[in-house]
């Protein structure tokens, strides 16, 4: 037994060091180099630049509260969409805090004149707190509010919203969805 222990000392130490250098430094450094060469934009976080300034990432949701923009989902991170500290709400389905929060969000949405059953994504927080997407239904029901705030014809805003819907890959992988930040950027570019 002590003989086994003695013979194992050197390989245990030396192989750990060798593997740490290979897997902990060489591998991630090489991958970073390859990533920067092949896919520079994506390796750097799919950042969106507007006149040289970063306005966000195409992959990360943002907080929208103005009536002029499509709103994303409620977020449980920090003050909402805190991309430096991702988090879900972790509330149980029968937590009092969940029911009260949902009631408040429903009341706020109803104020803009929306009737009927609301799509679930619009009144629930995502897992990441950074969900960039909402469902097509959650997008379409916001169109009248935005058309009014921007004094645009509702059918033009609806056409833009419909054109923003992404469909599942091969009809199977993923869900129909709309990237709220991308849609709002397109909205800002619309001429009256």
């Amino acid at each position: 037994m002590t003989e086994d222990l003695k013979t194992a000392l050197r390989p245990a130490l030396m192989l750990l060091i060798a593997f740490a250098l290979l897997l902990g430094l060489a591998y991630p450094l090489a991958m970073t180099g390859i990533g920067k060469v092949l896919f520079p934009t994506r390796a750097n976080g799919s950042l969106i630049l507007e006149r040289g300034k970063v306005v966000g990432s195409a992959l990360i949701g943002q907080s929208f509260t103005s009536t002029r923009y499509f709103h994303g989902r409620p977020s449980a991170t920090g003050d909402g969409y805190d991309a430096a500290a991702s988090s879900g709400s972790n509330l149980a389905p029968n937590a009092k805090a969940l029911i009260e929060r949902t009631q408040a969000d429903i009341a706020r949405i109803r104020e803009s004149g929306v009737t009927g059953d609301l799509p679930a994504d619009l009144v629930t927080t995502s897992a990441s707190g950074l969900d960039p997407h909402i469902s097509p239904e959650a997008t379409f029901l916001q169109v009248p509010r935005i058309a009014e705030a921007r004094e645009l014809p509702a059918d033009r805003v609806m056409a833009l919203a419909k054109a923003s819907v992404e469909q599942p890959l091969l009809g199977l992988i993923g869900e129909p969805r709309v990237n709220v930040l991308m849609l709002n950027r397109a909205l800002d570019r619309m001429r009256p």
Binding site: D4, L5, A8, L13, M14, L15, L16, A18, F19, L23, G24, P28, M31, T32, G35, K36, R42, A43, G45, L47, V54, V55, G56, I60, Q62, S63, F64, R73, Y81, A83, S87, G88, N90, L91, A92, P93, N94, K96, L98, I99, T102, I106, D117, A120, D121, V123, T125, S126, A127, S128, L130, D131, P132, H133, I134, S135, I173, E175, N184, R185
Partner: protein, 566 residues
């Protein structure tokens, strides 16, 4: 539930069944010690600096001691890196040292292939810690698991010998020829699909509404690739694979799920090939996929129906229970992922299990209670399942009054005792530690949700730790000395109190002679065997936890259906 949803699930299962044979054949070449292309000089160089003779067989004790020492040094290195984080390079956010209890917990967590996240990823760890501490053990703990599986397979395949292989060679070959090349390919695919890979600091953005948004970035893709492939599951970010940077699209999500199961499924074929009958391997994979499909069906059904307390307020139920789930994944991928990650000892998440319906969280919990033998952790799934195969032939032997045999080996008292020892360590750790936390102030203080759901948070934590899973009911505040310490204990028991008996069984079996299958042998392929094995798994592995599950998800669901809000 939708037709498309079920087509998606069937596509996934079909692809796993299709991967099993080619992956298994490659694993068999590794197991068999065949020379490999490209990295041969690296392999020989590693042996030279380690003073290893890869051809020298070790007894089971020698194998176990080598493994334990290597893992012990791994804990020490990981702990040291986290404690010294503040003075080490690649730390653009200037994070300071990780606290001692959190560093200890994380070190045990990554070495045991658990990857429980008491740490917060982007808010706690430097790029250097992510790479040099976490990523390294993502590889090595997976390599260790494959090595143990190889050793046990040799126990069945060899005869009249003391040796069960060489730990250094098994671990090195699995890491260099399987884990590293596949991780390189997957990293490039992930970057191409949007996962960041950079050493830059966080980026400040000015949002469309003029607010400031800080985007945490880092070398995510290289960590993500091995985190899935090695069934580790420790996230670069706090919310793990739910984070859009760690899982940007439905396609990256699908690839992640496939890579969690790929090696574990392949090992079943390797086993069959090594014992001379691939049908033995298919019987094991068939049992796994049977249990898996039932788990997916129950979870999908529970989540797709929505939360009645929310729909009651005037919310449509067509999208299902969306609290704690991202839109790009939706219900079907979120529930499939939850079952995959708990079946396979991975522990990565794309949805918050704490916000699942109580019945939706039941199968993830139960998968872990069974010991994660449905595909399972790399290596760990196969050796966990083989322990149950020994129990099943033992029970069958008792019924017909004959010495049990399995794939050409007589199974006697010593092997059965060791198998029961390994299997019993799991309920001991899970139920013992859960009971302790449920009656102490420090344990109860961690709960976010109250009532039966709060109990489930505690039960889930110790289940996840002892089963070396790593997923969580994230509401539980686990970064306290109490939880960091006890969860580390659970992880240690769950890993090494299984590995050591498994290696002892391997040694005991290797020494036996081959017993050819006779007319009286109980067949260990075909429907009868799969039925018996499934029954033994459910009765021995599952029943122990029934009272705890009734108090947790059972009582919780009943309360919810009665409209009881807490």
């Amino acid at each position: 539930m939708t037709v498309q949803g079920w087509m998606f699930i069937i596509l996934f299962i079909a692809l796993i069944a299709a991967i099993a044979r080619p992956m298994g054949a490659f694993l068999f070449a590794l197991y068999d010690g065949r020379p490999m292309p490209l990295l041969g000089p690296v392999e020989r160089g590693f042996y030279r600096i380690g003073g290893v003779d890869p051809a020298r067989d070790q007894s089971w004790r020698g194998y176990a001691i080598a493994l334990l020492l290597f893992n012990l040094f791994g804990v020490a290195l990981l702990y040291a890196v986290l404690r010294l984080q503040g003075v080490l390079p690649f730390n653009p956010q200037g994070f300071g040292a990780v606290s001692s209890d959190l560093a200890f917990n994380t070190a045990i967590s990554f070495v045991t292939n658990t990857n429980w996240q008491s740490y917060g990823g982007e808010t706690t760890l430097s790029h250097f810690s992510q790479m040099f501490a976490l990523t390294v053990q993502n590889f090595l703990s997976a390599g260790t698991g494959i090595a143990v599986a190889f050793a046990l397979i040799r126990g069945f395949a060899r005869r009249d010998t003391k040796g069960i292989g060489n730990f250094w060679a098994d671990m090195t070959r699995a890491t260099l020829y399987l884990l590293l090349p596949l991780s390189i390919i997957l990293t490039i695919v992930y970057i191409a699909l949007g996962v960041p890979q950079t050493f830059a600091a966080s980026v400040d953005a000015t949002t469309l509404e003029g607010a400031k948004q800080t985007l945490a970035l880092g070398p995510v893709a290289s960590q993500l690739a091995i985190k899935m492939l090695g069934t580790n599951g420790g996230g670069f970010f706090n919310v793990n694979s739910a984070h859009p940077f760690e899982n940007p699209t439905a396609l990256t999500n699908f690839i992640q799920m496939l890579s969690i199961f790929a090696i574990g499924a392949g090992l079943t074929w390797t086993f069959g090939k090594a014992v001379g009958n691939t049908r033995q391997g298919w019987a094991i994979l068939g049992t796994m996929l049977l249990l898996f499909t039932v788990g997916v069906a129950i979870t999908y059904w529970a989540e797709a129906g929505g939360n009645p307390l929310i729909t009651h307020l005037g919310v449509s139920d067509t999208l299902g229970n969306m609290e704690g789930k991202d839109v790009r994944f939706g219900i079907v991928a979120s529930t499939l992922f939850a079952v995959v990650t708990t079946a396979a000892s991975c522990g990565a998440v794309i949805a918050m299990h704490d916000s699942f319906m109580p019945l939706g969280s039941l199968m993830p919990l139960f998968n872990m209670h069974l010991g994660e033998l449905i595909i399972g952790g790399v290596g760990a799934g196969l050796y966990g399942m083989l322990l149950y195969c020994l129990l099943a032939v033992f029970v069958a032997g008792l019924m017909v009054g004959r010495t049990p045999e399995y794939v050409g080996k007589k199974i006697e008292a010593r092997e059965v005792k060791l198998a029961v020892l390994a299997i019993a360590s799991l309920p001991l750790a899970i139920l013992g530690l859960t009971a302790l936390a449920s009656v102490t102030d420090a344990g109860l203080a961690g709960r976010l949700n109250m009532g039966p759901h709060g109990f489930t948070e505690i039960l889930y934590a110790f289940t996840s730790a002892a089963a070396n899973n790593g997923s969580a009911f994230g509401g539980l505040t686990a970064n306290t000395p109490f939880y960091n310490g006890l969860l580390a204990l659970g992880m240690f028991i769950g890993r090494f109190f299984v590995i050591i008996p498994v290696l002892a069984i391997a040694g005991s079996l290797a020494a036996k002679r081959h017993t050819p299958e006779g007319a009286g042998s109980f067949p260990t392929t075909g429907a009868l065997w799969i039925g018996l094995l499934t029954a033994i798994i459910l009765i021995v592995g599952g029943l122990t936890f029934l009272p705890a599950l009734a108090l947790g998800p059972g009582a919780d669901q009943a309360a919810l259906m009665a409209g009881f809000v807490q």
